[in-house]
Symmetry: C2
Subunit: 343 residues, 2 copies
């Protein structure tokens, strides 16, 4: 399998996007975030998405040069209409608005609609955190249903992720979590399917509502469905995220009609400096993390980690070793690159 | 086991609290919320707490006549110092502030410190929802550690609950979830312990970091610990709640020093009317709930429920049949009542 350094991958991705009409600065930013996902070990949100994005541009589902409009704008709130732009481009503007408003008022909420795949929510929460704010982000996935309500046996909800990032001193991120409200994101199941491997129990149901570990029973008719994380807990959160991300933004909640995919997104930023002196805040967060690390290890565990730490380690490693891409993904990416180069 | 109607229980609870110096209106409110927890099927948060609250007043840990102060107050934010008041009394004032500010600005955040046990977070989220606002609530539990970090094997975090309630039309609640970030709240394990029954797998570790189903291995030395819901997901959320509820409020995060119990709490309220017409909001929420109910049932499931629905059903039932209290709890409550009556 080919192994590439981050810079080469970013350049390739950027050229493909500019070749499809994306302005150079936007293309570079989208490329940076896709490669960042690979660097951080979340290959399902990395350059594997390039062919999918290109296909969406071709269908007209993604607009390479959107006119992003702020349709609601108050000192504390904004609703942004992304005009079908790349999620990375729309969300960047959304976070900038949320950060600006939260600095002014202590907290702010920004909702995004008509926006493509926003990628890893952690990127947006962390973008706020590196500017000194707590970032909370939720996104639904209109047109991308995979998850069954608890007790049900059919796809009715998106994998509706939830993310929170907490600022550390000097533009660092003290901790950051980002999780699907399903036990697994769909991409992880697809990897198992492609490899012909079983999934662990508790991840999915087959199309008849029976527990299954066979990914083939997911990608068939009737289709399987993903189970919610923590049973009724993930279900409750997933439903709330349909409302927070989908309905408040105007993107729309999950439903039965065929619709163009969009990540309806809500971000809330809070400025810790409005609550307590920032140095106290950082000291208390550091003490909390030190405290949880004093726990003795569970049987079989090697370490108590802080959320975000595994990603930071993987990034350090992959910045050195490069990023390994599976053959099929690399074939699609080079085909897209060559096509753009010929045009 | 004695079965009592809600009114009798409320009157009894109220008399006990006034007997310990709580003003009559506050006592009635605390009693209402405790009995409401019983009515809704969450007996662990109901009148079983009366003896615990009385003991806390005796120790000076709970102040029956607090001077609640708003120590930070902006158009969008408040920090409330509860002066060791009953959580029910402090949080009621906190929600009123949050609702008022969110009506003015579209969103608001209110943090509570120096406050006793706030009871079910759902009560506070729903109090905002019945006033037309989305309510998000998080609470840590300084001085009440039960949960191990993921990979660890000792109590380092509270059960740190998370709640969201969504308004329906006409002062109703469309949906409401409230969950511990541990697989089980500690109260459920204590019930199993008291009954001599095992817990299911995946709930707890023994004091040596081994998976266990024996509640006796929790209440011993070295003590057991509760596992986080959804493994690393609940751990990430629990840590974030230490910061949102504990650090921002000034209550403090989990740590190794012995401290008086307090629920450091953060509530965020959002006004959907700032995002879209309220009638549209209600129609879209109703359509979402109707959509998830169209799911066929999983093997063994009887129904797809909306979060909050089981509680509403139990309340309807128990308003008719009354509330059954275990003998030991009723013995303690009547003893507390008789003691107050003699004084």
């Amino acid at each position: 399998m080919p192994t590439l350094d981050a810079g080469t991958l970013e350049k390739t991705a950027s050229e493909i996007f500019t070749g499809h009409g994306v302005p150079a600065e936007d293309a570079a930013w989208i490329a940076t975030l896709l490669v960042r996902a690979n660097l951080r070990g979340h290959d399902s949100h990395g350059v594997i998405r390039i062919p999918q994005y290109v296909a969406a541009v071709r269908r007209g589902d993604l607009n390479p040069r959107p006119e992003i409009r702020v349709v609601t704008d108050t000192p504390t709130l904004a609703v942004v209409d992304g005009d079908r732009g790349f999620g990375q481009v729309v969300a960047r503007q959304g976070v900038a608005l949320a950060v600006d408003k939260a600095r002014g008022q202590g907290l702010a909420a920004v909702a995004l609609r008509e926006t493509g795949h926003v990628g890893r929510l952690a990127d947006w929460a962390e973008l706020a955190a590196t500017q000194g704010l707590l970032g909370l982000v939720w996104a639904n996935a209109r047109g991308g249903l995979h998850v069954t309500p608890w007790g049900g046996a059919a796809r009715r909800l998106g994998t509706n992720p939830h993310a929170i990032a907490v600022p550390g001193p000097d533009r660092t991120v003290a901790l950051s979590h980002d999780f699907a409200t399903s036990v697994w994101a769909e991409g992880k199941l697809r990897v198992k399917f492609n490899r012909g491997e079983p999934a662990p129990p508790g991840v999915m149901l087959d199309g008849h509502g029976r527990p299954s570990t066979d990914p083939r029973a997911y990608y068939t008719e009737p289709p399987g469905s993903l189970l919610t994380a923590g049973q009724h807990k993930g279900y409750g959160l997933a439903l709330a995220i349909e409302i927070l991300g989908g309905i408040l933004s105007g993107s729309g909640a999950a439903g039965g009609d065929p619709v163009r995919f969009a990540n309806g997104t809500l971000m809330v930023c809070l400025d810790p400096a409005r609550f307590l002196p920032v140095a106290d805040f950082h000291a208390q967060v550091a003490a909390l993390l030190a405290w949880v690390r004093t726990a003795p290890l569970a049987a079989g565990a090697e370490e108590v980690l802080v959320p975000g730490e595994p990603e930071a380690r993987t990034e350090r490693e992959r910045r050195g070793t490069g990023i390994t891409i599976d053959e099929e993904t690399w074939r699609q990416i080079t085909a897209a690159r060559d096509e753009v180069a010929r045009a």
